[in-house]
């Protein structure tokens, strides 16, 4: 296990690292995940541990199924994912609630209020109620570690999967954690017991009754469970809260009484009522949906009149201070006239080269989740849909079936995303006689989340060599007859292949393969430069949004003056191919 800074047995750990540490100390045997911000570092922290089998699964559903298998074999298992990953894994989740566990089974959902790196900000606390499983919400890294250890115990005690729900501010904030030793839990091995593990209707009906009995037992246990704690303070104000909002409330109202909930499913109704009676004005402080508030009101507890909590976006310390009527520091207005700095595709990115071709062809782009989604920004503006992992292909097929034409739209999907959930929609295209053009932007890694391995990289989560999935062979096996592999730097060949595909009444898969430039930083590069005598100032090179190509046109001048910044230039040469005047050349060495 790696730590940032360790003093004795105390370390400064992120919530993700602390969850990994908790699982490690709890004797976890199997850890599975699909990368997704802000959950990725959980598995990355566990991957170097020889005591733990770790895997990047193709998607969250498979990850959870592997963890369920490990649990049924008696091993402690953890499965981590971002919030939207739990949508993918919800199918096994719902029935794993019925089967229960043998070894402790912990599912980590890392939510992203504010959508720092997500397509929605769904509140996954609802999933714990929906699946009827206990949910723990840590409020800092120490709790993240402790709660994961407790989650394994609760899982085994109550025969249920347990959800640990964190948010970006827990996952990516660091705080002090006291480290402990690993305690091994030997798996008992798989045992035949279809009444528990084979969910045909007859068995599932009995298991559902057990789930309801389990919920009753959990409700009774929640009332005295030490994961919930009352902090006695000023009786005039009481706050019920959990997770990072607890920290904001403590800071805004240090002397208030607080009921800090660590177990947020099921809720301790009697404890909440007792706490409510002990204070004059009662507030609920929570992020996103009124998950606690609705249940607390439902048991007849009256809350103080308060400004409404923002249901959209991340809760801030200032929001909480406002909700609790606390005094706030005077805050200056931010400077209004500053240029924004959104993230951009890197210089030399193969995605940009391919998206530039799509821009030129003026086709609609059914997009997906990955770095290439940044193509929605100017100047490329070549990303017309983005729904969820793998949606690009099905959406393009739907447009084709509705409009009867597929010559004006392509589906664009990354390599890791294609393996995650692009394979089944490609089967659909072939089966239902679509003619969709699918472009797999293959950068040989899961780049957006920080370069994790996947089945087509030939490496496992711990870096061991393994079989390399060939996506071209896979597409042919599915029944796609036109499968091409192209280097996206070769924009002319890419354009030819896309044109051919759009004109064809059969599906086509084009794999645009160029390794992520961030993985090839040490590669020798020849920066390009513009010869001002040959440059006609058309500005076409500016149209593909490379950060190394800068507009230096003086105000009022129509003809563009453009400069390539040598330090930023990756030497891909795509701009030179795009230049109609051939004015972009390799810079002389030591120039």
């Amino acid at each position: 296990m790696s730590e940032t800074t360790t003093v004795g047995t105390r370390a400064l750990l992120s919530g993700d690292e602390a969850i990994a540490r908790g699982a490690f100390e709890a004797g976890v045997r199997v850890a599975t995940a699909y990368p997704g911000t802000p959950s990725t570092e959980i598995l990355e922290t566990l991957a170097p541990c020889p005591e733990v089998y770790t895997e990047w699964a193709p998607n969250e559903k498979v990850a959870l199924e592997v963890a369920i298998g490990a649990s049924l074999a008696g091993a402690r298992a953890i499965c981590s994912m971002k919030h939207v990953g739990l949508n993918v894994a919800s199918d096994p989740l719902m029935t794993a609630s019925y089967t229960g566990v043998r070894g402790g089974l912990v599912i980590v959902s890392a939510d992203d209020p504010g959508m720092f790196s997500s397509q929605n900000e769904q509140d996954n606390r609802h999933y714990a109620r929906f699946a009827k499983i206990p949910m723990l919400e840590p409020a800092d890294s120490q709790e993240a570690k402790d709660f994961v250890i407790r989650a394994f115990e609760i899982s085994e005690q109550f025969d249920t999967p347990v959800m640990v729900r964190i948010t970006t501010r827990i996952a990516h904030s660091k705080s002090l954690v006291t480290l402990g030793e690993r305690v091994e839990h030997e798996p008992a091995g798989f045992q035949r017991d279809p009444a528990k593990t084979t969910m045909v209707p007859g068995n599932a009906r009995r298991r559902h009754q057990l789930v309801e009995e389990r919920t009753k037992a959990l409700v009774a246990w929640a009332e005295t469970c030490d994961l919930n704690r009352v902090e006695r303070g000023d009786k005039r104000i009481g706050v019920i809260t959990s997770g990072v909002p607890y920290q904001y409330a403590r800071e805004a109202r240090p002397r208030a009484s607080a009921l800090k909930l660590g177990l947020t499913n099921p809720l301790p109704a009697k404890l909440i009522k007792r706490f409510a009676r002990s204070v004059e004005r009662l507030y609920v402080v929570e992020e996103l949906d009124p998950y606690l508030e609705g249940q607390i009101r439902a048991v007849g507890v009256k809350l103080a009149r308060a400004p409404s909590s923002p249901r959209c976006g991340e809760l801030s310390p200032a929001d909480v201070a406002r909700l609790l009527g606390a005094r706030r520091a005077s805050v200056a207005a931010p400077a209004a006239d500053l240029p924004p700095r959104p993230p951009a595709l890197c210089p030399g990115c193969g995605h940009r080269a391919l998206l530039t071709v799509l821009k030129k062809l003026k086709v609609f782009v059914s997009g997906d989740i990955g770095c290439y989604t940044l193509g929605v920004q100017p100047p490329l503006q070549t990303m017309d849909t983005c729904i969820c992992m793998g949606a690009s292909i099905g959406v393009a097929l739907g447009v084709e079936k509705a409009t009867g034409r597929s010559d004006n739209m392509v589906a664009v999907i990354g390599d890791s995303t294609f393996i995650h959930s692009g394979i089944t929609p490609l089967v659909d295209v072939v089966y239902n006689q679509g003619t969709t053009t699918v472009i797999i932007l293959d950068n040989e890694t899961t780049a957006m989340t920080g370069h994790q391995a996947h089945p087509a990289t030939g490496k496992t989560a711990s870096g061991e060599p393994t079989h390399t999935l060939r996506m071209d062979d896979l597409a042919r096996a599915i029944g796609v007859r036109h499968v091409h592999v192209v280097d996206p730097y070769d924009v002319r060949e890419s354009e030819r292949l896309v044109r051919d595909a759009l004109g064809r009444s059969e599906p086509t898969v084009i794999i645009a393969r160029r390794r992520c430039v961030l993985l090839d930083r040490g590669r020798p590069r020849v920066p390009r430069q513009i010869n001002p005598e040959e440059c006609r100032g058309c500005g076409i090179c500016l149209g593909h949004g490379c950060p190394a190509i800068v507009d230096r046109t003086p105000p009022g001048r129509k003809r563009k003056r453009v400069e390539i910044i040598a330090q930023l230039c990756a030497g891909c040469g795509v701009c030179a191919l795009l230049c109609p005047s051939q004015a972009i050349k390799e810079a002389p060495a030591n120039g």
């Binding site: 800074t5 720092f116 660091k174 800071e251 310390p317 400077a335 240029p339 951009a344 920004q377 100017p378």
Partner: protein, 203 residues
């Protein structure tokens, strides 16, 4: 909340903001404080704005610094400094690299990079120190160590022993990079010292 010190570190993805905040947090920890730090880094390598915050004191609750309570803003780039200057306390201090990085993407209608960015930054806070951190990093032997130069300058304004900083640097860096970063730290520390004595660095 005066018993908690709040440091914000702002810059452009790829500049080493998260490393700098790890070093500051590590030094506070070595000096015996409770510490929390936050960061938003989903897009940290894609050239977007990145910010990380470190809080230390006897007991820290929120990992997020409330607006208006930043004590020291470390800016690895001038525009990112200006973007976050409003979050400072009235008595706040800015320590910035004299470096301009233009945004990679300029959406239609977006303002141009402010040419007077350093003048505006100088009047944005009670105290502003601008040092040529990138040049000093080159001098130390690695242009990418500008983050550590600024951390060295910051060390002049925080009550930690030099050994706490060195320990944190050694803990956060690969062994091969420790020496060059210790040099960068020292150059930043000296630059801040010169500024405090009214003799700004000439480059």
């Amino acid at each position: 909340m005066a018993e908690i010190t709040n440091i914000a570190i702002a810059g452009v993805g790829g500049q080493g903001i998260l490393l700098a905040s790890d070093v500051v947090a590590g030094a506070a920890l070595c000096a015996g404080h409770d510490v929390k730090k936050n960061e938003i880094h989903g897009m940290a390598q894609r050239g977007g704005s990145v910010i990380s915050e470190v809080r230390f004191g006897a007991k820290v609750h929120s990992p997020v610094v409330p607006d208006g309570q930043v004590d020291i803003l470390l800016a690895l780039e001038l525009l990112e400094g200006l973007r976050n200057a409003h979050r400072l306390r009235q008595s706040g201090l800015v320590i910035a690299d004299d470096l301009r990085i233009r945004p990679a993407v300029r959406p239609p209608g977006a303002p141009a990079y402010p040419e007077d960015v350093s003048d505006r930054l100088r009047v944005s806070a009670a105290r502003v120190i601008i040092i040529p951190a990138t040049d000093l990093a080159k001098q130390a032997g690695n242009v990418r160590a500008a983050n550590t130069v600024l951390v060295g300058a910051l060390s002049q304004h925080l009550p930690f022993a030099v050994e706490a900083w060195r320990e944190a640097l050694r803990a956060c860096l690969r062994p091969a990079l420790v020496e060059v970063n210790l040099r960068a730290f020292q150059l930043g520390l000296e630059a801040a010292l010169r500024q405090a004595q009214g003799r700004p660095h000439r480059s």
